[in-house]
């Protein structure tokens, strides 16, 4: 038998289960896999060695062991970027081709090598993802936590100073206050409107169209959405012969009021900004809640109706309790998204006029002021704020696994 990699999953000790009697249908696969297995084993070993060597070089360079930390790769110009369209697409094709080749090599060697222990198999399937997550998420995370205790260049250890700065200086206190407003208002309002709308249009004739209209902002980039709303808030000075071009101010004028600098006059400008986020997230809330409402068993609704429940009372006593898990999911998800929102503030005000939030301030401090220490501690604050949600989610996952 040449098919040596059919590991028996029932034996977790890694012992390979070699087929002794091949069913008739498997003859083709058996033939396909004969020959060359020794060479593939070699390929597998080489691949493993290359990955291991890469990991070692990375670790050495990451922890500043010379000479790798100053090691500069002389990339050819075409490799980094190209100014022509054809060049760009060529580069893209090149990248995809390389990727496909590497994946094919890994899979082929796992499939064809003559003796593949279970761990090598797992490594073949999980290795690429594992390497990337370790390099791109785990390691940077630890590094950022460390950096948050250092000064702006990452040279001197300064303890909790960055955090003290954030929590005591008034400009950062405003940032924290704004973030809190966003995180409280956006999830509640968008979930409420999403739920209301889902109930209102449920099982009506134009349901699909009605939902589509609310859902559409989900497809638009936050930058695009910000520009749409910036236009709504556009302000023209209140003078003779000057017409308002923004809808919001025109409405004020029609109502006989003075036009308002929506994005500049604080503290209300934060609320005008977070309306954009509500506008986007309501569609998400509506979709999830609508599916949950449709999943309420008809006999429950029917029974309640026979008991004389209608309208608001039906909503209060049947609909809301039945979709509670979905409500929690929506609230949590929207909270997470809102916490990290950066694009809206960046595009609409750039964080000026006391509208900045933690995610935006992180960007400004790190990549505009080049105060890496302060930027890192802002990122860590974001991270700490999501930890309870992570814990909650993991517990939910465990519950779900148990049910399964």
């Amino acid at each position: 038998m040449s098919d040596h990699n059919s590991n028996d999953d029932v034996q977790p000790d890694g012992g390979r289960h070699v087929m002794t009697a091949s069913p008739p249908g498997s003859s083709r696969s058996a033939v396909a896999q004969t020959g060359g297995s020794g060479r593939w084993t070699l390929v597998l070993i080489v691949l493993g060695a290359v990955a291991a060597a890469g990991g070692v070089v990375f670790l050495l360079s990451a922890f500043g062991v010379a000479p790798f930390s100053t090691f500069e790769v002389p990339w050819p110009d075409w490799f980094k970027a190209s100014s022509s369209t054809i060049g760009k697409f060529g580069l893209m094709a090149f990248a995809v081709a390389i990727f496909v080749a590497v994946m094919a090599l890994i899979l082929l060697s796992v499939d064809r090598a003559s003796k593949v222990p279970n761990w090598a198999l797992v490594l073949g399937f999980l290795g690429p993802a594992g390497l990337m997550l370790a390099f791109g998420l785990l390691y940077p995370m630890l590094r950022t936590i460390r950096e948050s205790f250092f000064d702006r260049n990452g040279a001197n250890f300064i303890g909790w100073d960055n955090y003290v700065t954030i929590f005591t200086q008034s400009e950062f206190q405003i940032v924290l206050r704004n973030t809190m407003i966003w995180v409280i208002v956006v999830p509640i309002v968008s979930t409420f409107i999403g739920l209301l709308y889902a109930v209102l249009v449920d099982r009506t004739r134009f349901e699909a169209l009605a939902k589509g209209l609310i859902f559409l902002p989900m497809a638009i980039s936050l930058v695009g959405a910000s520009i749409i709303w910036k236009f709504v808030y556009e302000f023209r000075p209140d003078q003779q012969g000057v017409e308002q071009i923004g809808l919001a101010n025109q409405l004020l004028v029609w109502a006989g009021l003075d036009p308002n600098q929506f994005l500049i006059s604080n503290p209300w400008n934060t609320f005008w900004l977070l309306i954009v986020m509500i506008w986007i997230q309501t569609g998400f809330a509506m979709t999830i809640l609508s599916a949950a409402i449709k999943a309420i068993p008809d006999d429950i609704v029917e029974a309640a109706r026979l008991d004389g429940l209608t309208g608001p009372r039906m909503f209060r006593y049947i609909t809301v309790p039945s979709i509670r898990p979905a409500l929690v999911v929506v609230l949590v998800t929207v909270t997470m998204t809102t916490l990290k929102v950066f694009d809206i503030v960046r595009t609409m005000t750039g964080g000026q006029f006391e509208t900045s939030v933690v995610a935006n301030e992180f960007y400004t401090q790190s990549f505009r002021q080049f105060n890496f220490g302060l930027g890192a501690s802002l990122a860590v604050i974001l991270f700490v704020l999501v930890i309870p949600v992570v814990v909650y989610q993991v517990r939910q996952l465990r519950l779900a696994e148990d049910i399964r």
Partner: protein
């Protein structure tokens, strides 16, 4: 209504209501008749909400076709009194020397395609391992990957950028591709794993008895069944990457040969915030691709959303 099989009552599961129930035609008609009873007051509120949600986009869309002078002096609602249509704004924003959005549009495409293909393939492999290969510590590792979903990207940006600079790779497509691929993995693995688990294990067992190895099972048995799931996540990732600002701005912000359209649009809003003829047309050029993808594949997208989605 009595013949309707009752769907399972939602549990605490985050993946609740993955399969909305399909009503038969007769049932739907019965339900529709019932809903006629709902008050006109309710439909009124629904219509007002729908209008409120549509009008901002509609206003900018109209404006993008109006001549510059008109946009800057009169509101878009006056368009209906005095309709003047031009494509000049689009021409200028696409090919004008100060904006040349056509270049950035190309950049967006070049960034997005590999940033969808790579993480989806890698996540498929990992999801397969988590779903169908038995090994020590599998549960713990999976929970770890699941938890990574929620880690804010901001936590990773400074060290990653420093690393890229050390390798002299910053401001290239490579860093943007790699970063997007990495950030997509936790959610992709989680979603695809859930879909893979739903494949009946008897199918996999049967293939195994036939002597198929893991690679063969992966390609021959699972892949065909997973097409909807892959489509769902791919759309998700496509929209995410195309619409992203933070990652592109951080890793490629300095290079006009690399930055995508969103970065340029945000920049334009900062430097030429009153040039509405450029901003309106530019915004719609940036939106057109995700809107087409979204409208044509909405079914898959909603499925992906319902399968539980939290993304950092």
């Amino acid at each position: 209504m009595t013949t309707t099989p009752t769907p399972p009552v939602p549990t605490g599961d985050t993946r609740l209501a993955t399969k909305p129930r399909k009503l038969t035609k007769a049932e739907r008609r019965a339900v529709e008749a019932k809903s006629k009873l709902s008050s006109p007051w309710a439909s009124g509120v629904a219509i007002i909400l729908a209008i409120l949600w549509t009008i901002p986009t509609f206003g900018l869309l109209i404006s993008s076709f109006r001549p510059e002078r008109q946009i800057k002096t009169t509101g878009w609602w006056t368009f209906f009194r005095d309709p003047q249509v031009t494509l000049e704004n689009y021409e200028e924003v696409l090919f004008g020397s100060g904006t040349s959005f056509s270049t950035f549009f190309v950049n967006s495409i070049v960034i997005t395609l590999p940033a969808v293909i790579i993480p989806v393939s890698i996540a498929l492999l990992a999801a397969y391992a988590f779903a169908w290969i038995e090994f020590r510590g599998r549960g713990l590792l999976f929970v770890a990957v699941f938890a990574l979903q929620i880690v804010p990207l901001q936590v990773t940006l400074i060290p990653l950028l420093q690393q890229y600079v050390r390798w002299d790779l910053n401001n290239s497509f490579w860093t943007v591709w790699i970063s997007h691929s990495i950030f997509a993995l936790p959610l992709a693995i989680f979603l695809l794993h859930n879909f893979m688990k739903e494949v009946p294990s008897s199918l996999v067992e049967a293939a195994r008895v036939d002597g198929a190895g893991h690679v063969k099972i992966f390609f021959r048995v699972l892949m065909p069944l997973l097409v909807p799931a892959i489509a769902a996540f791919s759309i998700f990732q496509f929209l995410w990457v195309w619409n992203d600002l933070l990652v592109a701005l951080t890793f490629a912000g300095g290079s006009p040969n690399v930055v995508p359209i969103t970065v340029r649009l945000a920049e334009l809003s900062g430097t030429r915030g009153t040039d509405w003829q450029l901003l309106s047309a530019g915004a719609f050029i940036a939106m057109i691709v995700p809107l087409i993808v979204f409208l044509s594949l909405q079914r898959y997208f909603v499925r992906g959303l319902l399968a539980g989605s939290v993304k950092g």
